[in-house]
Amino acid sequence: MHQFQLETLAGAHWNIAGYNIAFTNSALWMAIATVALIVFVAGGTKRQLVPGRWQMAVETFTGFIDGMLAANVGKNGKKYVPYIFSLFMFILFANFLGLLPLGVLGLHPFTFTSHFSATGVLAVLSFAIVIIVGFAKHKLHFFSLFVPHGTPVVMIPLIFVVELISFLVRPFSLGLRLFVAMMAGHVLLEVLSSFVISSGNAGLGLFAIAGLPSFILMVGICALELLVAGIQAYVFALLTCVYLNDAENLH
């Protein structure tokens, strides 16, 4: 569990309105993800007519987000491209940076997306945007989102409550899903690696029986974790798109 441990790196006594905002290892990796993302996207803003590889890669990502918004929200979704792109790429970079094998260099990569206090901020942000857009665009009509078409009149109060709860659960599910997926993957890798090491310390026979299969399994799970890192970023962005669609177009 040490890999999830927050450590104060600087500013142990920085306070804003009584809240301590110490610069932690988590904040450091947020900064690294931000810088890496800026460098990556800046490399794609050369604006060449015939794109190079780097520009092509960046354009692929923007095209991907643009297509996702066009498919889920429609042409009204174009204005959310900056937000969804930032969200997707920030989470993607955080997930991948946390998986980097920097341990061999003696560094400790920290996956801040494995903290619900971090993912929760993004989830609440997305949820807040959905609510603001919904009420700004549809005023109190936005509540009709909670009454699906064709609901019998007697059922309306009950359905309204059920839909409202499912709506209010969204930020939690959004934030928790990412946090759980990231944490589970890292814990799984840690457990398997501890098998490898402790069985190796116990003796050659036990290492052959338990350590080696665990190691082979780890290699596969590492690949799976890379996939999960991409998928979780995608799911977060996709669900935000779906929720934005509710806010933009109601039902």
Binding site: A31, T34, I38, T45, Q48, P51, V58, M183
Partner: protein
């Protein structure tokens, strides 16, 4: 689980730095760079579409040009054929005229030549008569010792020439 164990201690820090760095990401990358990238893609797509449209237009105009050239060429060819036919007819007529003119000249020459030949033959025949008469008179005077009258000798020669 540090996520829960350290929550009380660090939640403010987590929220604060998350907001700070996500805001930087959003404003620098999302607002600053993504529109440029999207703009580049859009302008490229537009240029490709325009280039394709221009190429299509040029192809159409080339087709029209070729069609016009073909009709013009056909007209020219027909005109040339007409010209050749009329020239041929004219040349044929001129040739026939010149031939007939030449024929007339040749006929006239032929007639004149025949007349001259006839005259020459007549003259030659007369010459032969007088020479023969002279010779006959000479022979008679030598053989018979008589002097023949010229007209008598001529008559005798004429008679003998006529009988062969």
């Amino acid at each position: 689980m540090p996520q829960i164990a350290q929550l009380g201690e660090y939640y403010a820090s987590q929220i604060f730095w998350m907001l700070i760095f996500f805001a930087i990401t959003f404003f620098v990358v999302g607002r600053g760079m993504v529109p440029k990238v999207m703009d580049t893609v859009a302008s490229r797509d537009k240029q490709i579409a325009e280039d394709l449209a221009t190429a299509e237009k040029l192809r159409e105009s080339a087709d029209a040009e070729e069609e016009a050239w073909r009709t013009r060429e056909n007209a020219n060819r027909a005109q040339a054929q007409d010209l050749i036919a009329s020239a041929r007819a004219k040349a044929g007529a001129a040739t026939a005229e010149r031939l007939s003119a030449a024929q007339i000249g040749i006929d006239a020459d032929l007639a004149a030549a025949e007349k001259r030949i006839d005259e020459a033959r007549l003259a030659a025949a007369a010459e032969i008569e007088s020479v023969a008469a002279e010779a006959a008179r000479d022979i008679v005077s030598r053989v018979a010792g008589i002097s023949l009258d010229e007209t008598a000798a001529r008559a005798a020669v004429k008679e003998s020439l006529a009988h062969g």
